[in-house]
């Protein structure tokens, strides 16, 4: 860091910084303010002209959101889907990254390039084929993937997998090899070395990857809109349900948006230090 930089920054730099960061903060916080303030407004405030300050504060929207649409069910669905996808994705990424980081084998480059290049596939390209594939697997084997949480979990975990593997490879590379070679000499198997030495040393990277995987699954809209039904609908799709024919319950929508954002935003802000550290080690090479 530059705290001990021998030259104090000039006035022009300080003023540019002040102005830029102030404007940026306003831009960033504006929707957050709208979300929070509108969620506490009575319905009349959000159907009429926009008001900066509520005419009166009410927690009514926070009570009504649970009965206007089955928000609790959507919430549980999202939690199960995102949670399971995260756990699976992280475990699989750890194995893959360990193999790539610690072994030389044929096809290593093909693997990394292929996995990474899936990142650039437009989701729309495999949405429909995947839909057909899941339906066909269901018809022939009886495993219900289409419309089930399982299918969504499977789909989402592959979304975060490439980036997770990539980031963990970088992270594992930064764990000195001497450590796990010493463990191998001491009689640990390769998996012992992985779980006793490499994984504990790479916890920040693993946490970062987990945060990323959870956020990816929690926020996905496209596949959720096609691959879920009434019982498995996630928040991403369910939130649209607050618009009725006569009125749009904007205060409830804002309240619900806030409620579904709190778990991810809180988790992210608590763990962002690890994410930054993980990115430093992994992505930036």
């Amino acid at each position: 860091m530059r705290a001990d930089s021998p030259m104090a920054p000039p006035r022009s730099f300080l003023w540019s910084r002040r102005i830029f960061l102030t404007l940026l903060t306003g831009f960033v916080l504006l929707p957050v303010y709208v979300m929070v303030s509108s969620s506490l407004k009575p319905l009349a405030d959000v159907t009429g002209k926009f008001r900066w300050l509520p005419s009166g504060l009410t927690i009514r929207p926070y009570i009504d959101i649970w009965s206007t649409v089955p928000l609790a069910r959507y919430f549980v669905n999202s939690l199960v889907v995102a949670g399971a996808a995260t756990v699976c994705s992280v475990v699989i990424a750890v194995f893959s990254a360990y193999a790539v980081s610690r072994y030389d084998f044929r096809g290593k480059r093909v693997f990394t390039v292929t996995v990474l290049s899936t990142q650039m596939f437009p989701g729309i390209l495999f949405l429909l084929p995947l839909f057909l594939l899941y339906v066909n697997i269901g018809n022939t084997t009886g495993i219900a993937l289409f419309g089930s949480r399982g299918g969504l979990i499977l789909t989402y975990l592959t979304f975060s997998l490439p980036f997770s593997i990539w980031m963990l490879i970088g992270y594992f590379d930064s764990v000195p090899r001497d450590l796990d070679e010493a463990a191998l000499v001491d009689g640990c198997g390769p998996l012992g070395a992985l779980f006793r030495i490499v994984v504990p040393a790479a916890i920040p990277g693993i946490v970062a990857v987990a945060v990323y995987a959870f956020m990816t699954a929690w926020g996905e809209v496209l596949f959720a809109s096609v691959m879920t039904n009434d019982t498995t609908r996630t928040l991403a799709v369910g939130l649209q349900g607050y618009s009725t024919l006569n009125d749009v319950y904007w205060n409830q929508i804002m309240a619900a948006s806030l409620v579904v954002s709190v778990p991810v935003v809180a988790g992210f802000l608590l763990l962002q230090r690890y994410l930054v550290a993980g990115l430093t080690a992994g992505a930036v090479k």
Binding site: F13, V28, V34, F95, T112, V113, Q119, L133, M215, L222
Partner: protein, 328 residues
Amino acid sequence: MTTTAEVEKPRTDPGSERAPRPRPGRIRRIGLPYLLLLPALVLELLVHLVPMVIGIVMSFKELTQFYIRDWGTAPWSGLDNYKVSVDFDAPVGEALLHSFLVTVGFTLLSVGLCWLIGTAAAIFMQDTFRGRGLLRALFLVPYALPVYAAVITWVFMFQHDNGLVNHVLHDQLHLTDKPSFWLIGDNSFYALLTVSVWKGWPFAFLIVMAGLQNIPGELYEAAALDGAGRWQQIRRITLPSLGAVNQVLLLVLFLWTFNDFNTPFVLFGRAAPEAADLISVHIYQASFVTWNFGTGSAMSVLLLLFLLAVTGVYLAVTSRGRRASHAR
């Protein structure tokens, strides 16, 4: 693909050089790396590669609503789907071309702004100052918010009668004669761009911030001793040192923005206005409104080919540029 493989080289090689060639004792477990990769491979095959192949096959079929139940029986149609997609004089091709151009313009603007804001913020926040930690956390909020929750808030702000944007621009600042429509018509492009930049710049910020930490402090000290001011240091040291980071960052931002479906879908619903008709939503509509999945697949394949070409050229050009500047 060959270009991509070449470019991978600098990233993977240092690692294998650092590691001694595997000693005979380790070769014994030759199957292990494959075993470790197996779950990832199987899943990537199932969810990405197999569907992609199916998608390519579908693009050569006349897959209309009559064949959805049993798509294998749909008749082959050769290149018909592609011909329809790129016949720019006919409505379907014309609309696709329009959507493509809108997407290119939108992506370039969005990526440029995200990169600019993210880099500026990261550089301005390199020094420690009071409130820096809090500010950094705040700046990451748009990135952390679930897309739909954030975008739906913007939908509310862009409402014609009860939105914040019209209230400020029309009622308070009197900049417009009458309240504007933001989510339909030509303005929708700027609405989409605003939301996309708001949502996307923190990622650039995060990556550049991480990249800045890898610049050795001695460089700045040496420059300061030579009498370089702060602005000069930024121009001569900070920005050039970010070359490697920017190479990856810009590519990732480009691909994500170009393929973005979530933002326009939540912002406009299924019917995107013409001015903001991004390609992903366009193909989605083309597939699900007309139920002609064959043509939709052909469009997706064309999109993928375009992205592959852009990525290949980009990596080849930027890597050569970087190698050249390293050699100097």
